[in-house]
Symmetry: C2
Subunit: 188 residues, 2 copies
DNA sequence: GTCTATATCCCGATAGAC
DNA sequence: GTCTATCGGGATATAGAC
């Protein structure tokens, strides 16, 4: 792992555990095992570090939805797997995503950076929705089913769970929760 | 409107429009039309101002769920109303709620303050769930329906919509969206 | 590429006059 | 209750040696 990656890893950990306010250049440098000056040899400024952290989160959510193949396995089983993975993902990345709201500039910068990759926070919803549409075409969902809403409901619940997880640290069985959510959305 | 309220209003507006990072004592004082020193005559420190802003948001969500009466109106109509109101509420308060993750201390302080009022972010979900349970008892929902999951799905989707609203500023028809979400959750 | 040392700035908070 | 003036501290970022 190169210096750049060590810096990003340290920044990620601090943001997750302490919040954006504590993720100072001094703290990041200390946690990564370098001097503050080293940070600026690898990143133009602090915002670039932060954007790097966010970018490193994106692929994980993407991969989550990549192995969704219409017609394979059971529909409910597939949805439970996706939903429970999403619960874990949002729980981990919520503090970092929330940091975007620290400043309007940060939000705008991240949106632009992400936009260049043709992605965004709507991507998971839209990909899950696409999967459901395909399943409907295969006859595994009633023709009256609404894929967009189903995807928004499942991932929305997972997203909010990410917030709640950080409110109290109450342990939640992600799979059991996912199973109940899916059951309430997918007609038998 | 007294000085204290003016300060809170100014702080709320800045946090919403600019983010927590820009909500400095200097900016808040300027926007409220007072000096920085005046802030400290009405609040012990900056955290107390922030907690005041958050507290002023709470009642609105509470009121939203107060007029839910089991057996009155149509079940779907009631849910559409609640869901669309929730979409608006979360959209407005998301940046402020997200600021909680700026620092672990802030999150803890707010959680403790809210806990003393016997409330929290789980309250809306649990109240909506209670309403649905009552409707199920009245026979307006099948006995197989899962009130907890239904509430988590609807309010979760509304919550995530609050985030997405700030991503792009794409206008969303809250009522139309709510109608689709409710339809996907409530069996006919 | 990495360090030590430092410049510059601005934040939260207080002192003290009125 | 509100102001002006200011303090101490810590943040981002840079200079310059190695």
């Amino acid at each position: 792992m190169g210096t750049r990656e060590k810096i990003l890893a340290a920044a990620t950990r601090i943001m997750r555990e302490q919040g954006y306010a504590r993720a100072t250049t001094k703290e990041i440098a200390r946690a990564a095992g370098f001097s503050e000056a080293a940070l600026y040899k690898h990143f133009a400024d602090k915002t670039e570090i932060f954007l790097g952290v966010l970018a490193s989160q994106l692929p994980r959510l993407d991969a989550m939805l990549s192995d969704l193949t219409p017609g394979r396995g059971t529909l409910r089983g597939n949805l439970v797997r996706v939903t429970s993975t999403a619960i874990g993902f949002y729980a981990e990345s919520f503090p970092i995503a929330a940091s975007l709201f620290s400043s309007q500039d940060l939000l705008t910068a991240h949106r632009d950076a992400v936009h260049d990759h043709g992605a965004g926070p709507r991507t998971p919803v839209s990909r899950l929705s696409g999967y459901l549409r395909a399943e409907r075409k295969l006859g595994r969902l009633p023709s009256t089913a609404d894929p967009d809403s189903m995807a928004a409901l499942l991932l929305g619940a997972a997203f909010q769970q990410g917030f709640l997880k950080h409110w109290d640290t109450e342990a939640v069985d992600a799979t059991a929760l996912a199973r109940k959510l899916v059951k309430a959305v997918v007609p038998v």
